[in-house]
C-alpha cells in the first residue's frame, strides 16, 4: 500500500482528516498520534514564523487571536519557498478579507509595514550616492533627472496613523495615536531599518521615482503638499539614493 506525498500533505494540513492507511506504528497498527507529530510541527513552526514576523500585529490583536488567525493563514497560504524570512507576504491582503479582524481596520497596513521592515532588513547592501550629489546637477537638468533608490527603500501609505500605532506598540514613551492618515519611509542606512514619517504626497513621489520616473514626472502628478526638497533631503540623509542619472 503506497502512501503518496499528496495524501500525506492533505491529511497533515487537515486535523480532522483520517491518517492515510499504510502509516503504522512498530506493531503494524495505524499510527494516529504519531502522525499528529507532523501536524503539530508544521502548524507550530509556521505559526511561530508568523509571530516572529508580525510582532506589532500580534500585540494589537492579542496572542490568542493571533494564533487562531495564523492557523487559518498557514492553511490558506502555506509558504511558497523554503526562505522563511519572507513568509507572510500575503498577510496584508489576507487581513483585508479576514472577517474577524474587520474591527481593527488598520491591521492590514501595520502588517504591510512590518513586512516592509523585514524586506528592508534582508535587502541587498547598497553604496549611497554622496550627500552633495544632487547639488552637482545643473538646475535646468534637474527635472529630467532619475534616481536609483537602494533595494531596502520602501514607502508605505495608509489612511490610518500607522507610524503612531507602530511607535505606541514598540516604544514605552510614545504618544497616543491620533486618527489621521500617515505614511512612512523605510530605509536601511546601516544594518537596521529606519522608519521616518512622511506625507502621502511624498510616499507617492518616492514610489514613482522607484519606478524610474523623472523628478519632473513625480512633481507633475503631485498636489501642493509635496515638498520635493524635503523628500530628497531625507532620501540623501538616509543613504537611500544610490545613483542619480
Amino acid at each position: 500500500m503506497t502512501v503518496t506525498q499528496a495524501q500525506f500533505r492533505t491529511a497533515m494540513l487537515d486535523p480532522n482528516a483520517a491518517v492515510p492507511p499504510g502509516i503504522v506504528n512498530p506493531d503494524g497498527a495505524q499510527a494516529s498520534k504519531r502522525f499528529n507529530v507532523y501536524r503539530n510541527n508544521v502548524a507550530v513552526s509556521l505559526s511561530d514564523a508568523l509571530e516572529a514576523a508580525f510582532p506589532v500585529v500580534r500585540k494589537l490583536v492579542g496572542d490568542e487571536f493571533f494564533r487562531a488567525m495564523a492557523g487559518v493563514y498557514l492553511r490558506k497560504h502555506p509558504p511558497k519557498s523554503p526562505l522563511m524570512m519572507f513568509y507572510g507576504d500575503a498577510m496584508p491582503q489576507f487581513l483585508h478579507r479576514f472577517e474577524p479582524a474587520k474591527s481593527v481596520p488598520y491591521l492590514p497596513d501595520i502588517a504591510a509595514m512590518e513586512l516592509a521592515l523585514r524586506l528592508a532588513y534582508h535587502a541587498a547592501d547598497a553604496t549611497p550616492a554622496p550627500p552633495d550629489a544632487l547639488g552637482a546637477i545643473a538646475p535646468d537638468a534637474l527635472m529630467s533627472t532619475r534616481l536609483r533608490l537602494a533595494p531596502a527603500v520602501q514607502a508605505v501609505n495608509s489612511e490610518y496613523p500607522i507610524h503612531a500605532i507602530y511607535r505606541a506598540n514598540t516604544q514605552s514613551d510614545a504618544p497616543k495615536p491620533v486618527m489621521q492618515a500617515e505614511a512612512v519611509l523605510i530605509s536601511r542606512p546601516g544594518f537596521d531599518p529606519d522608519i521616518h514619517p512622511i506625507n502621502a504626497a511624498a510616499a507617492k513621489a518616492i514610489s514613482l521615482l522607484q519606478k524610474g520616473q523623472t523628478l519632473g514626472e513625480a512633481i507633475a502628478t503631485a498636489d501642493d503638499t509635496l515638498d520635493l526638497g524635503a523628500v530628497l533631503g531625507l532620501l540623501l540623509a538616509q543613504g537611500a539614493i544610490t545613483e542619480i542619472y
Binding site: 503506497t2 502512501v3 506525498q5 500533505r9 497533515m12 507532523y38 509556521l46 547592501d125
Partner: protein, 284 residues
C-alpha cells in the same frame, strides 16, 4: 557521481549550531569550539546583517552549511530556484561542509517547514539518488545526508534505513551526517536497538555527527513517543550512544544542535565541553 574520496574538511572537534545572540560570547571565548554550523536558508537573503555576520564568522571558524529546505526526498522535482540559491551561497562562502536531510518538505510548490518522512523502497532509493546527484552536480561538491528522526513507519518499506543510506553513498558518492539523537529517538519510537543501528551504519562515510535534545511523549497505546525538538540538553543515553559510536568510528566533527528555547551561551558551552571530553576518549 562525484569522487567519494573527497576529504571532509570539518575538524574532528566540537561545533555548535550558530545563533546570532551568541555572536559576542563566541568571539570573546570560543573555548574548545572548533567550527560553526548555519542553516543555509537563513543566509539566502540579498544582504544586510545576516550575510555580513556570516562573512565575518567564516574568517575565524570553519563553517558547515546545513540545509533544511531542499526536500531531497520529494516525489516531485527539486526546486531549481532553491538549488541556484544554494549554489550561490556555497560558492561565495566556500564552507568546510554542506549537508541536507533524508526527508521531504515541499509538495506542489508548497513548503511545510518540517522534515517529513518517506518509505524506503527501491523506487524511493532511485529518486533520492537522482536528487543527490543533481544537488552535487549543481553545487559542485560532495554533500552529507542526515538520517531522520522517525515517529512512524510505512507499511510499504522494504529496505532498512541503514541499507538505504549505504546504497545512497555507493550510488552517489555522498557522505553521511549521523545524528545520534535521531538514532535514539527513532529506535525508541520504532522499538529497535540504537546500538544495532550504529552497528549497521556505514560509519566510514560519516563526515559529521549531530547531538541534540528531544521531548518525551506517549502514543495512544502508551508506548514512548520521543520528539526531536532541539530544545533541550542532550540526554545521558544519547551521550552513551555517542561514546559507543566514536569507539567504532574514531573521532568525528561533533555538533551541538539547540534550535528552540535557545539558552544563554554558558549552557551551550557546557554541552560543547562534554562533546570535547567524548572526543578526548577516542583521540589517543
Amino acid at each position: 557521481m562525484l569522487d567519494a574520496t573527497h576529504p571532509d574538511s570539518l575538524p574532528a572537534r566540537p561545533g555548535v549550531g550558530y545563533k546570532p545572540q551568541h555572536y559576542t560570547a563566541i568571539m570573546a571565548d570560543p573555548g574548545p569550539l572548533g567550527w560553526l554550523e548555519v542553516h543555509a536558508e537563513n543566509y539566502m537573503g540579498d544582504g544586510g546583517r545576516p550575510i555580513a555576520q556570516l562573512r565575518h564568522l567564516a574568517e575565524r571558524f570553519p563553517i558547515s552549511v546545513h540545509g533544511v529546505g531542499l526536500s531531497i526526498g520529494a516525489e516531485g522535482d527539486l526546486d531549481k530556484d532553491h538549488l541556484a540559491r544554494l549554489k550561490h551561497l556555497v560558492s561565495w562562502l566556500n564552507p568546510a561542509s554542506f549537508s541536507e536531510h533524508l526527508a521531504w518538505s515541499t509538495h506542489d510548490s508548497h513548503f511545510f517547514n518540517d522534515l517529513l518522512p518517506l518509505p524506503y523502497t527501491p523506487k524511493t532509493l532511485d529518486r533520492v539518488a537522482a536528487h543527490i546527484n543533481e544537488v552535487q552536480d549543481t553545487v559542485g561538491r560532495r554533500m552529507l545526508l542526515e538520517n531522520p528522526s522517525s515517529y512512524l513507519a510505512f507499511a510499504e518499506s522494504t529496505l532498512s534505513e541503514t541499507d538505504f543510506l549505504r546504497e545512497l553513498t555507493q550510488r552517489t558518492g555522498c557522505g553521511l551526517l549521523l545524528d545520534v539523537n535521531n538514532v535514539f529517538v527513532s529506535a525508541t519510537n520504532l522499538k529497535t536497538s540504537p546500538q544495532a543501528y550504529i552497528d549497521d551504519f556505514p560509519l566510514e562515510a560519516v563526515g559529521e555527527v549531530h547531538l541534540g535534545g528531544h521531548d518525551e511523549d506517549e502514543d495512544e497505546t502508551g508506548a514512548p513517543l520521543l520528539i526531536d525538538s532541539h530544545g533541550k540538553a542532550v540526554v545521558d543515553p544519547v551521550w552513551a550512544l555517542l561514546d559507543y559510536t566514536l569507539a567504532k568510528s574514531g573521532p568525528k566533527p561533533l555538533l551541538i544542535e539547540w534550535d528552540t528555547d535557545v539558552p544563554e551561551w554558558p549552557v551551550l558551552a557546557e554541552e560543547i565541553a562534554r562533546a570535547d571530553k567524548a572526543l578526548s576518549l577516542v583521540t589517543a
